[in-house]
Symmetry: C2
Subunit: 216 residues, 2 copies
Amino acid sequence: MSRPCIDLSLYLVLDPDLCGGFDGMVRTAEIAAQNGATVVQLRAPQWKKRELVECGRALKKVLDPLNVPLIVNDHADVCVAVDAAGLHVGQQDLSPDDARPLIGPDRVLGLSVSSMAELEAVDTSLVDHLGVGPIFDTATKKDAAAQLGMEGFARLAARKPCPIVAIGSVKAAMAEALFKAGTDGLAVVSAICGQKDPALSTRLLRKAIDANLACR
Amino acid sequence: MSRPCIDLSLYLVLDPDLCGGFDGMVRTAEIAAQNGATVVQLRAPQWKKRELVECGRALKKVLDPLNVPLIVNDHADVCVAVDAAGLHVGQQDLSPDDARPLIGPDRVLGLSVSSMAELEAVDTSLVDHLGVGPIFDTATKKDAAAQLGMEGFARLAARKPCPIVAIGSVKAAMAEALFKAGTDGLAVVSAICGQKDPALSTRLLRKAIDANLACR
């Protein structure tokens, strides 16, 4: 086995508050995966690890049959314990140098970057893809960096050393601009989590993404 | 190599607030290790992992020459990344079942227990020692269980399946009662961290412990 090729086109980052807790996260993930999300990230910085591991296993149970990979945020130990497909780290989390040996050669490693300096420092022998943002200010990540705006994102995307997803208040209506700027996918939280009809929200995102992928 | 034998007699749990941050934690650890602490735990639940890893490495640098082992709280990934001697988990952290394969067979694994039910559930094929407490209510751990009191501690200590340390507002004056009850060591936070003279505080604890160890 080697690192799986992950379709980043519609990357759902779960939020426990917006989803209504453990069960809501699993339900949201399943609905999203059934309706076009291609990868799901478990992110719950306020949770203890016992619950994270349980939730990771519950997510794998619904996602594996749909062939949608699970990525764990921040915690390499939880990632390995639940046998997730990958780990995602921010600039204050484990460094890629430290994370890669912990997760082994067969999992994907994603890294958040918010500036040209962070982008230029990326070692693609360790990191498989980047989350680039926040495009716009977001309520779902309290310690996020300053927003890049569409122009700032385009400047980073033009220099991407590996596949990237755009993150930070991303909505379906922004798909065209973001794909034109060079993104490989949209990462969303509140555009799916906590939506009245997450299946419909996912399908609308999927449609907007496919329209742009088809025209590349 | 197999699991190291760890002298639990004076077990310092670092607190970043009481120690005054990163540098204060390293300084406190070094002073304590020079004056009789036998094991040091890195615990900073409010920190991101980049800082935890850096601090773990800085702690190892001062503790290794003194032959005082470092134990990392909660994070198996940080524990392995900094090559600590062991991991300590609570009941809401990684389960011993999940933690043991992550840290491998050669590191010690400590577990917090607060009740007879938790004590009786301990699997000593996975867990090397226990932190039993809180003996008395403590300000340094916000999510601690109800205090055991000295009698409650003695009831648990009488049934210990492996070595234990007493934790929770432990002071030098309690050494006699705790060792008589069957503890193998005292775990302290505020009895060393943030003390005006941590070297003196450590030596007084050491003296109280040695007096009781000698009489067993």
